[in-house]
Symmetry: C2
């Protein structure tokens, strides 16, 4: 395996009704801002539970953080943080709220234009501490230090991260998913699945434990994904789904192995340009990456076919074809459309997506930069 | 799955020749004590590399920490720490050196008799910070906060732990294993394997990802264990073995699942009474626990048989018998004897072991206290 460093200081608090742990993990006397999204937490009881848990603290709130959180929206929260000398933030929501909160925490203490974190790759030097109450299993943001932010003005969706942006703690309470709509559940499963693929489907570096950990997450998502999407009251399954999503992107399975992330990078541009959900764009693009890059990823796709899907008959190419088919069928079983044409993208989508990738210096992509402009075009066109 | 909290702040630094990372992770101006065992690090170059990496620091050393580190030995190091105002310790060795170092770090700042940590279960309130350079993959101590110490005077082998006793960093350099003797390699593999079994072979709580992570470690240890033990120059395999051992006991696979630890508790008494290596005692006792507790652990042993050993034919009891046989054969393939009689224990060993367990309030043991005195006797006798 490759050399690596790994450290992850996030305290995970898993279980039902763990709200009393929040106040134990926030310094006494903190001036807290709670951040959230469209307001579903006010309907499903999570907001009330959080506010009760914060009894005795000075608390302000900032709602309305949208999916693919907007720089423009988040900068309003930054103003509130600065004006009110907020010194702790509690993100209550899914990956968008948590990612947005990471940006707020860093931007509030940055003296220049916070878009510098993306445009100039300025490293984060200081950040307000924060915790999370996760309500949507998907992104893994609750146990990592990265975030993806969208600038609405220029339709740019960009990533950043810093060791200063790990949550201090994350409450993973499976009952918070009860009111989660089917589409958000499905997108979450797809997102988690593709996070794992990005850290697995590359080339072998003789890292058998990392391979098997990744396969463990695939197998579990395949086993419980559809059940989680369809049985809204199945809290046990939701708990297992949460743990898969958290483990899918907390750095562990990526230790000492090459990583791809091409599906995500192409997907980000599609979301930014056409407003298609993140999990949907991944489900569209992944089969194309697997198919077009089959030579470069051959050994790993065959291993994936055999171990994850139990496809043991036929030639390697037949196994690869079958594994791609099974993967796409898995996304469709969750109710996700897997073709760009099903989302009514314009006919010149491939050109637009490629231009955006080039503008963001994302070509070539993939492990070892194996996805050239030509390959990326082939991938996108094959998914129309 | 069960509710849980998980946090693990250890920085893992994996790879060859990472010694330059040591000084980056120790505060400037620290007065350092390096701790080690029998002196093999002076022959294999590790000591020289460490001393070179600590150039510029004030460094003292304490060698001679034995396997199953003795309270009596460690108290001598405590005196050195106190007398010289040591404020950072660097453990260079295997689990015994690291465990012993954890005790030194806590004892040096404790005002009473440090055996209170064991005899009175006094919680650790302060500890000197420490890092590790791991040289023997086995115990997982390099990424956890627990330790096992032996009081030679009374032949007691006891465990303690504290969140203050996580290493700040651990260097995992597979080349350090080059000079490791075959028997220590074999013991390490057995130790790691049984750590995982203790967190897996209990009763099901619907935690499919934890199950699969555990099975991943079993499968990898089975795949590479013998190769690691026999091919002393195979650094890649050593690296994979290290990662299995570290992941086997860093808390992760135990999140949200019941745990057993009976094999370890019985094994500790055998080591304390008869001086048999830790990994050997585990290899002796585990098959007995599996056999005698087959009713209580039935579903999980069958799952283990099917998924880990690919035993899919026959009745459940036949699968269990075959899985026990495969497990014992695995230990023997590493060169470990798996019967007490092969180690020349006295005829009344069962009584002596049981008396020690009772004296240390270790009966009943196992998940849900299912291993009564009678069952423990049956387990030990079945392994003569």
């Amino acid at each position: 395996m490759l050399n690596f460093q790994y450290v992850n200081p996030v305290r995970i608090i898993f279980g039902e009704a763990q709200y009393q742990e929040i106040s134990k993990n926030i310094p006494a006397g903190s001036k807290i801002l709670i951040t959230y999204g469209g307001g579903s937490i006010k309907k499903n009881g999570v907001y009330d539970n959080v506010m009760q848990a914060l009894n005795g603290f000075s608390v302000m709130e900032f709602g309305g953080i949208e999916a693919n959180p907007h720089y423009e929206t988040l900068m309003k929260a930054v103003e509130i943080v600065r004006a009110n000398k907020i010194d702790y933030i509690l993100a209550v929501g899914g990956g968008s709220v948590i990612d947005g909160t990471k940006f707020i925490c860093a931007a509030a203490l940055y003296e220049g234009d916070p878009w510098d974190f993306f445009a100039k790759r300025v490293p984060v030097q200081k950040a307000i501490p924060f915790g999370t109450v996760l309500t949507i299993p998907a992104t893994g943001s609750e146990m990592n230090s990265g975030a993806v932010i969208t600038k609405e003005e220029t339709k740019e969706k960009r990533a950043f991260g810093s060791p200063l942006l790990y949550p201090k703690f994350s409450i993973l309470d499976p009952t918070t998913t009860k009111s989660l709509p089917v589409s958000q559940r499905a997108n979450g499963v797809a997102d988690a699945f593709v996070h794992v693929i990005e850290q697995y489907l590359t080339f072998s570096v003789n890292a058998p434990l990392q391979d098997r950990f990744a396969e463990s997450i695939f197998q579990t998502l395949i086993e419980i994904g559809e059940k989680y999407v369809k049985n809204l009251d199945d809290i046990e399954t939701a708990g297992n789904l949460i743990w898969c999503a958290t483990m899918g992107l907390n750095g562990l399975i990526g230790c000492g192995v090459p990583q791809d992330w091409a599906t995500h990078m192409i997907g980000h541009e599609i979301t930014a340009l056409y407003g298609i959900d993140h999990g949907q764009t991944l489900s569209v693009i992944l089969p194309g990456v697997m198919n077009v890059m089959r030579e470069e990823k051959r050994a790993k796709i065959v291993q994936y076919a055999e171990r994850v899907w139990n496809i043991c008959e036929g030639s390697d190419d037949q196994k690869i074809d079958a594994a791609i088919e099974k993967t796409e069928a898995f996304f469709r079983s969750l109710g996700i459309k897997t073709r760009l044409s099903e989302y009514n993208v314009p006919a010149n989508a491939a050109d637009e997506i490629l231009n955006a990738l080039k503008e963001h210096k994302m070509i070539p992509i993939g492990e070892r930069g194996i996805i050239t402009e030509e390959k990326a075009r082939e991938i996108i066109k094959s998914r129309m």
